[in-house]
């Protein structure tokens, strides 16, 4: 190995993941370049620059000590809830739904930050909760409140996709924290049973329509099923190796909606074919595998839950987006990490990556301390 020639603190970084990620981001930039009709502006260049900034941020986060992270968990959570309330209040005053706060220099979407936020606070909670109480039914109350508050606020926006992402991260942390399996099974069964009721009473009409068209996109190919149909046409028409860089007709002639954000995978697959698709899936596989390995190797309960929860959050983004563009899930507005254009989501994902890197460092330090 080339360890001798590189300083140890650099060699310790998980390059096996960061390099493929960088390639993925550059690949994403190429796709965005093509989607803009062969222009670096307005998406491609910004995409790379943002990744540079947020990667730096992730390195900074990875330097934080575990104590510091533990210490800020509660204040960060409280701050995010307050921000969510502020968004709600401003939306109420301004009339209509609003999801972001304009801070002047950037727009901040607090619901995005809540995805790692909820993982952090729950990891902290189960870290503090004595092991025996995990089985206790009463100990469900604190996490219920911690989850219910932000999820309720996000649902009010209304943003079903993000609230599902928050719940997913939270449930995975609780699952890994060792809560009785029976609880998950019964909640799962109850949830299945409640789906019809939820569908008719909890969903907005536009959301119901999305679900219905997902079940039968062909029924309305020019209306609500348009997104799914066009996305599948783009992916399917790419074949093995795609139509070639810059030759995607579905995206260039505007048949594909949102070719640079939610449907960027379809844009990519049309031009790069199945080969490009497998590459993307493979890199995500590397990232997630690394995340779970870091979690298993982590030194204590807090860091394990933290790393696994962050991995789950990344997984949720990726899986739901890919399933959506391939017609396996209803259309929900969730971007594809590292490829979709958009600052907020990339920041969230890089916070997750940064925290996994931090956990990675903590376990390395522990190991080296033993040496």
């Amino acid at each position: 190995m080339a360890r001798a020639s590189v300083p140890a603190f650099i060699a310790r970084e998980p390059w096996g993941v960061i390099l493929p990620l960088t390639v993925l981001v550059l690949f994403g930039a190429a796709v965005l370049y093509s989607a803009a009709g062969g222009n670096l502006w307005p998406w491609s260049l910004l995409h790379v620059v943002r990744f540079g900034v947020f990667l730096t941020m992730a390195f900074v986060i990875s330097r934080f000590s575990m104590d510091f992270i533990k210490a800020i968990a509660v204040p960060v959570y409280i701050l995010l809830v307050l921000l969510l309330m502020a968004v709600e209040a401003m939306g109420f005053v301004g009339g209509g739904s609003q999801r972001w706060l304009n801070l002047g220099f950037m727009t901040l979407q607090p619901s995005e930050l809540m995805k790692p936020g909820i993982v952090l606070i729950l990891a902290r909670l189960y870290d503090l909760l004595p092991g025996g109480h995990v089985q206790n039914f009463k100990s469900l109350l604190p996490p219920a409140v911690l989850i219910g508050l932000p999820v309720g606020l996000v649902l009010l926006q209304p943003d079903l996709g993000t609230s599902l992402a928050i719940m997913f991260g939270a449930v995975v942390v609780m699952f890994l924290a060792g809560l009785p399996m029976a609880w998950f099974i019964s909640v799962g069964v109850a949830g299945m049973a409640a789906i019809p009721a939820l569908f008719f009473f909890a969903l907005h009409p536009y959301q119901q329509k999305r679900v219905l068209t997902f079940l039968d996109p062909e029924s309305d190919p020019l209306g609500a099923g348009y997104h799914i149909t066009q996305s599948q046409i783009a992916i399917g028409s790419g074949g093995f190796f795609g139509k070639g860089f810059g030759n995607g007709t579905q995206s260039h002639l505007n048949y594909l909606p949102e070719p640079h954000t939610d449907f960027v995978f379809a844009t990519m697959a049309e031009e790069w074919g199945m080969a490009g698709g497998f590459f993307v899936i493979f890199v995500f596989g590397l990232l997630l595998r690394w995340g779970l390995k870091v979690a298993i190797a982590a030194p204590d309960r807090f860091s394990r839950l933290l790393a696994a929860g962050m991995t789950a959050t990344i997984f949720f983004y990726t899986a739901v987006n890919l399933m959506m563009v391939m017609g396996l899930a209803p259309v929900v507005g969730i971007p594809l990490p590292f490829m979709s254009h958009g600052g907020s989501s990339m920041m969230t994902i890089m916070i997750c990556v940064g925290l996994i890197m931090a956990v990675n460092r903590w376990s390395q330090r522990r190991v080296s301390n033993f040496d």
């Binding site: 089985q135 007709t249 697959a269 779970l292 997984f315």
Partner: protein
């Protein structure tokens, strides 16, 4: 399963050690990893399925997204008159169509179209009707003849207006407008039924028009041509990125008619505000030179669809502007039958000099039949019977010769037949005889039936074309067939096998109708050396219980006016028949015939007359029609009632069918209206009118 179920572990004791929680974490992480891997495999599988197994399907879908195949409607073949001058041609213009299925917001689209194209409220209402009644991808025409600025302004806004198709195209142009409306028909966008019959993509291409009536419909396949096509790469909003390739259209073949365009136009305009028709035939080979029917519609404005205001105008007009009166009119011919009845008499062996004394009436059996001239014509032979149109002469000798012979002569001269012409329909008319009556009414033929038939009343019904054919056969002595299509080789007409001296008697008498002591002295041609020969006819439409058929009764009770003629009288070349519905007598018909015939020999002289008339009437037929439209638009705007579903279609079909047969009028049994320009005898003997028994009405 490798990962623990909480319950099973929890049973022995409530407390769980940190180690157990760690184990549980490991197992469950493994489980989550497995789920993630599974979903990854699922996604890869789905990816493979879409891109490999379904590749062909999606490639096709992507290609049909990308490439837009636009058919270019072929330019329609021209319809030419006998001299090769177009009666219907095409004008290159900018046009705008709508495809209702692609419209997202109808109100907004209509508003923008209204603003940009400066549509009237009535126009917008019509457009809304059309959008509502059109299904599928059948296009709706918004406007033709759009000017360049409007076209450009609309093209710029296209991305916001899905379903709007502006394009360069050709629209049908009829230079003489209403004059050829009935003859040529019109073109229009394809109806649901027409598309069902012939489901070709061309039929629902924006800008394509199909022949809806007349020659346009009959020769649809000759005139249509081959569509061109353009393959273009288009964006989702329909904007063309670049043209891929293009095939020119092939223009349809022309159709050349025997019609003399200027004469057709003149005849139509000369009819003025009357409801009537003019047919002119060339005796050389039966060419129909003019077949004008008025009032008419303007095929130019019909071609963009029949709007509410047009519909209101048409349906309120009692002059039936949708009926082609030349072919579908059905009239009792009145005294215009007398020439052929005379021929029947001659054939029956009647000496033309044999005479009868007319005292203003004739008793047949127990009924008295009136001559139109109540004071009587005195001693009357055949010639006088024709030129003075003496009814008694015909009542009297018809008894001797019999109906069979008269009916046979009528058929020999072409009455009661349809001719082999390229038209949608013709009426047969009725040539009554005893056998016919028995079959139709199950009643015996009566003496008064013969009496009525000899003066062209009762059951006798003809259309104006038949009258023209009859006249041309009398004038030529040949069995002339009418011809409308110029490319059909003229067939030499066989002889009628009528003795020339018989024909001469009748022709001479017809000459005297105009140039002698006859009923139409004012029909003389204003041209030296060319004489007109003719016969007047006044046909009652209702029995006199409604009043006399003159100008003092409501329009629909007035007598029809007829005039048949040929010229020059000594060397017949042209034959003409004029029928004026409810013209209150033949004096409404023969001035029209005179001027139309004058046009054939001296067009300028005839036009001068027409221009004076048109000053009086307020412009040409086209001008009057558009003024009427403007007045209706002013009065009703967009508020005219919407035509019922299919109502327009029905009305157009109805206009093509023969008119309903009028009920027979027992005219001979009642006082007769005056013939020609003789003074109305009724003025003197008005007191005696009422006591004539109105007996023997046949219905």
């Amino acid at each position: 399963m490798a990962f623990g179920f909480g319950k099973r572990v929890a049973k022995p004791e409530q407390r769980v050690s940190a180690g157990e929680l760690n184990n549980r974490f490991d197992r469950r992480t493994f489980f989550i990893g497995a789920v993630q891997g599974g979903i990854g495999l699922l996604l890869a599988g789905r990816m493979t399925y879409l891109a490999v197994a379904q590749n062909e399907k999606y490639e096709l879908a992507s290609e049909s997204n990308r490439v837009d195949l636009t058919l270019i409607p072929p330019r329609r073949g021209w319809i030419l008159d006998r001299d090769g001058v177009p009666l219907a041609s095409n004008r290159a213009d900018f046009r705008v169509d709508l495809i209702p299925d692609r419209i997202v917001d109808v109100d907004q689209t209509l508003q923008v179209l209204g603003d940009v194209l400066a549509l009237t409220p009535a126009g917008i209402t019509d457009l809304r009707d059309k959008i509502e009644s059109t299904s599928g991808f059948r296009p709706v025409e918004v406007a033709t003849g759009v000017d360049w600025e409007q076209f450009a302004a609309l093209s710029v806004r296209l991305p916001d207006l899905p379903g709007v198709v502006p394009q360069r195209g050709f629209s049908r142009y009829y230079p003489t407008g209403p004059a050829v409306g009935h003859l040529l028909g019109y073109v229009g966008t394809v109806s649901a039924e027409e598309y069902e019959e012939e489901p070709e993509p061309l039929l629902i291409t924006p800008g394509f028009k199909i022949g809806k009536d007349g020659v346009e419909k009959y020769f649809e396949h000759t005139l249509r041509g081959e569509p061109g096509a353009r393959r273009a790469e288009v964006t989702a909003s329909g904007k063309i990125v670049r043209d891929l390739d293009m095939r020119e259209d092939v223009q349809g073949d022309p159709v050349q008619l025997t019609i003399d365009g200027p004469l057709q136009d003149y005849a139509a305009r000369r009819l003025g505000p009357e409801s009537g028709s003019v047919v002119v035939m060339d005796l050389k080979n039966g060419d129909i030179l003019a077949a004008s029917s008025m009032p008419s519609f303007d095929p130019n404005s019909f071609s963009d669809g029949i709007g509410r205001i047009e519909w209101k105008m048409l349906s309120e007009d009692d002059h039936v502007p949708l009926r082609n009166k030349v072919l579908s009119g059905l009239y009792p011919p009145g005294s215009t039958v007398k020439p052929f009845v005379s021929l029947a008499f001659l054939e029956g062996g009647l000496d033309p000099e044999e005479s009868v004394v007319c005292n203003g009436g004739l008793r047949v059996g127990n009924r008295v039949f009136r001559c139109w001239n109540r004071r009587g014509h005195g001693r009357t032979n055949m010639a006088k019977g024709i030129y003075q149109s003496c009814d008694v002469y015909f009542y009297y000798f018809a008894q001797r010769i019999g109906m069979e012979r008269i009916a046979n002569m009528a058929r020999r001269l072409g009455l009661g037949y349809q001719y082999p012409l390229p038209v949608a329909s013709q009426s047969y008319g009725t040539v009554p005889d005893p056998e016919w009556k028995l079959k139709k009414y199950d009643k015996e033929w009566q003496a008064f039936d013969t009496v009525n038939a000899t003066i062209g009343q009762g059951y006798m019904l003809v259309n104006p074309l038949q009258q023209a054919v009859m006249t041309s056969r009398i004038a030529s002595g040949l069995r002339i067939q009418p011809r409308l299509l110029l490319e059909n080789a003229p067939r030499p007409a066989p002889s009628l096998n009528l003795p020339e001296e018989h024909l001469q008697v009748v022709r001479q008498a017809m000459r005297d109708v105009v140039n002698g002591p006859g009923t139409a002295g004012r029909a003389r041609l204003p041209i030296d050396g060319i004489e007109l020969a003719g016969k007047t006819g006044t046909a009652q439409v209702v029995s006199l219980a409604y009043g006399r058929g003159g100008r003092d009764v409501p329009w629909k009770y007035r007598d029809h006016g007829h005039f048949i003629c040929f010229a020059p009288a000594d060397k017949p070349r042209y034959a003409c028949a004029v029928a004026i519905e409810h013209g209150a007598g033949s004096s409404s018909a023969y001035p029209v015939a005179r001027d139309v015939m004058t046009f054939l020999f001296d067009a300028n002289k005839a036009l001068e007359v027409l221009h004076n008339y048109e000053k009086e009437w307020g412009g040409t037929a086209q001008e009057r029609l558009s003024r009427k439209y403007a007045a209706y638009e002013q009065a009703y705007g967009g508020a005219a009632p919407k035509p019922e579903q299919g109502e327009i279609q029905d009305a157009v079909e109805e206009g093509r069918r023969p008119a309903p047969s009028p009920s027979p009028v027992d005219a001979a049994g009642a006082p007769r209206p005056p013939e020609g320009d003789a003074p109305d005898p009724g003025v003197d003997g008005a007191a005696g009118d009422g006591d004539t028994p109105d007996t023997g009405t046949t219905d």
